[in-house]
């Protein structure tokens, strides 16, 4: 536990009795299952999304294993039938998107960190927060039911009329599951939106919010504005499939392209639900681990909002070949680039933050650097897809698969892991072994690139996605990719081992191991049940002069002679 002399104005981590920490203040199954504490809900979410990630990962490995060889001359695959393969990628995509990546950063890490970082006692609606978690569970149960009832083979995009008339799998339960998960996500969004507006302690103006909170704010805006449209789309599809209403089914005079408008009106903004919180974590980590004030705070904050809002105008870039009119395609293509600009701004701001810093290569920073590398590739390849002429060739090939794994895995997953390693000591009060954390990260990095880099080439050469088998010239790329996937598995297993070890044997974490200036580091690790007895003093969240290294606690403590600098 850290101790220090108090300076007027600066806040000291209060010495709290052990029993006060949120993990120990009560015990028993019900104390978790019925908890309204955002921290416990965050931890439950964390366990839940990691389980989903593991399951989705297993499906991915099945895909990759099958693709090691093309089907033989009789059409038989290595160990899957075409139908099973189709179910694998559909469930892989649906689980990864709806159960893992969308709730990952906001609902797991965000839930835990956001109120503490803000200096609030809880989110605005704790009960709604718990509801959101249980809705996630119900959604997950629906997906499990889908697994029992013969899978899902529509792809995660549920395009009609295949999904409404032809598929023989459990489409309706899957749609219901995704519908419920949508509401789980909406509830998180509403909660965060209100918390950030109404629960800010005195002095915490909008432009003093840490960038992680800006990211969550922008995310919440998308969750509230876009997710309901997913809800109604899925509901209409349920009705279409069950009763044959005819809105999307051409056999009844409906329009399948309209369905795609409905789907992507949500699902494009949803990719920014996935990346914005990730970018926000990177802003925190890079500043802290470079020991530098973040560069261009306002530009970063505003670019998050810009991405969130512009992200609503570009959905049609998924539909350039769908039969959408050239007029609409042109509008969507032009606007697509307008969303890419704020992302570029962020990248350059992060770089400048590192300039003349004192860069600590801890595990979170290694992940942040990995993010920079992988997200740049993922984002830049998005430009090939946003360009109408080239997307015609690249659409629905492995080039797209590679693009979105680079942004979702290389981007969001890497940021998620950066955040997990960053806040782990705060969440569980334990330090982890830096060395094996970094080894895991590097193995995963190599495995990831080996998996998905070859896919760019086979994609631009014409390998279509969602293919159970393929023509021989693509074999070498597929084999590299499969080997990469197993390497990635090894890397992630090291990560999992490292984290479990830390729980079992880790050293006790100081209140502020990395020397960050945001408020969550002002309370003990793990935080007390009430977060803060008194609202903490709010200052510039990136003024790292506030703290200094204290060899006694092996952490940072508040500097006694600290005077807040006027500049920002």
């Amino acid at each position: 536990m850290s101790t220090t002399t108090t300076a007027p104005g600066a806040l000291t981590p209060a010495v709290q009795p052990e029993s006060d920490n949120y993990l120990k203040n009560s015990s028993g199954f019900l104390s978790w299952a019925m908890t309204l504490d955002h921290k416990r809900i965050g931890v439950m979410y964390l366990v839940a999304v990691l389980t989903a990630f593991f399951l989705g990962g297993m499906f991915a490995l099945a895909l990759r294993t099958e693709l090691f060889f093309p089907a033989d001359s009789t059409g038989k695959g290595l160990f899957l039938t075409p139908d099973l393969y189709n179910q694998m990628f559909s469930l892989h995509g649906a689980i990864m998107v709806f159960l893992f990546i969308i709730p990952s950063i906001p609902a797991a890490l965000g839930n835990f960190i956001m109120p503490v970082m803000l200096g609030a006692k809880d989110v605005a609606f704790p009960r709604l927060n718990l509801w959101s978690f249980y809705l996630w569970c119900v959604g997950a149960v629906f997906f499990l039911a889908v697994l029992m009832q013969g899978g899902l083979d529509t792809g995660w995009t549920f395009y009609t009329p295949y999904s409404s008339t032809k598929s023989l799998t459990a489409v309706v339960p899957a749609l219901m599951g995704a519908f419920i998960l949508g509401f789980s996500s909406i509830f998180t969004g509403i909660n965060f939106l209100v918390t950030l507006h109404k629960m800010r302690p005195p002095g915490m103006t909008f432009f003093r919010l840490p960038l992680f909170l800006w990211g969550l704010y922008a995310t919440a805006v998308i969750q509230v504005l876009a997710t309901p449209v997913l809800g109604i789309t899925l509901l209409m599809l349920v009705v279409e499939r069950s009763f044959g209403i005819g809105i999307f089914d051409p056999a009844l005079g409906g329009d399948p392209v309209l369905f795609q408008h409905f789907f992507w009106f949500y699902s494009h903004p949803a990719v920014y639900i996935m990346i914005l919180p990730g970018m926000a974590i990177i802003s925190e980590v890079i500043s802290t681990f470079s020991r530098k004030h973040i560069f261009g705070y306002r530009f970063i904050a505003c670019s998050s909002i810009a991405i969130a809002l512009f992200g609503f105008f570009v959905w049609g870039h998924h539909m350039f070949t769908s039969g959408q009119s050239p007029l609409a395609s042109t509008i969507f293509s032009a606007l697509t680039f307008s969303v890419a600009v704020p992302s570029a701004i962020k990248v350059f701001n992060w770089l400048t933050t590192m300039y003349k810093g004192n860069i600590v290569l801890g595990a979170p920073m290694i992940y942040a650097l990995g993010f920079l590398f992988l997200f740049a590739i993922g984002g830049l390849t998005g430009l090939f897809l946003g360009t109408m002429g080239t997307d015609i060739h690249l659409h629905d090939t492995y080039f797209v698969v590679a693009h979105f794994h680079y942004v979702m895995v290389g981007g969001t997953l890497w940021a998620f892991l950066a955040g997990l390693y960053y806040w782990w000591p705060k969440m569980f009060g334990k330090m982890y072994a830096q060395r094996s954390a970094i080894v895991g990260s590097i193995v995963a990095f190599i495995g990831f690139n080996l998996t998905f880099f070859p896919q760019f080439f086979m994609g631009s050469q014409g390998m279509p996605r969602r293919y159970f088998t393929y023509v021989p010239e693509f074999q070498i790329y597929h084999q590299l990719s499969t080997i990469g996937a197993y390497t990635l598995l090894v890397g992630l297993l090291i990560v999992a081992y490292n984290l479990v070890q830390s729980l079992l044997k880790g050293e006790k974490a100081p209140a502020n191991p990395w020397g960050a200036a945001t408020l969550e580091w002002q309370c003990t690790s793990p935080p007390p049940y009430y977060n803060f007895k008194d609202s903490p003093e709010v200052g510039d969240p990136y003024d790292l002069d506030r703290v200094q290294w204290d060899p006694k606690t092996k952490g940072y403590v508040n500097r006694p002679d600290y005077v807040p600098s006027a500049s920002h």
């Binding site: 408008h261 009106f265 039969g323 009119s325 609409a328």
Partner: protein
């Protein structure tokens, strides 16, 4: 009723006069919409009906829902909903109109027939 009674510390209290007045206006506008149907103005009819509906919606939002007295931010939030739904509907509509010809051409050759009981 004296003004002192009409006060609440937390939020604005809508005066009875306003409530009844708004209600009266809403009923009047409903009658007006129904009446407007009997006048054939071609394509204008729909716009008149929607226009009246919008006036009604505004009345409800401003007075019953207190937006006229509320924090402006709540109004902005609500406007966002309308703007984004408008965006969604209008672009989807624009696109379907653009490719309508491809559908019509096809249907001219292959008329739609919906089997009974399907």
């Amino acid at each position: 009723m004296s003004n002192a009674h009409e006060h609440n510390d937390i939020s604005h209290v809508a005066p009875v006069k306003v409530l009844l007045g708004v209600f009266g206006a809403l009923i009047f506008l409903t009658v007006l919409t129904v009446a407007a149907v009997f006048v054939d103005l071609g394509p204008l009819n729909i716009w008149i009906a929607m226009g009246i509906a919008t006036v009604k919606a505004l009345l409800v939002a401003l007075f019953f829902m207190h937006l006229a007295y509320d924090r402006p931010f709540n109004g902005i939030v609500f406007m966002a909903a309308l703007v984004f739904s408008g965006l969604f509907v209008s672009i989807a509509l624009l696109d379907s109109r653009e490719y309508k010809k491809n559908v019509d051409d096809f249907r001219a050759v292959t008329p739609l027939s919906i089997p009974a009981g399907k």
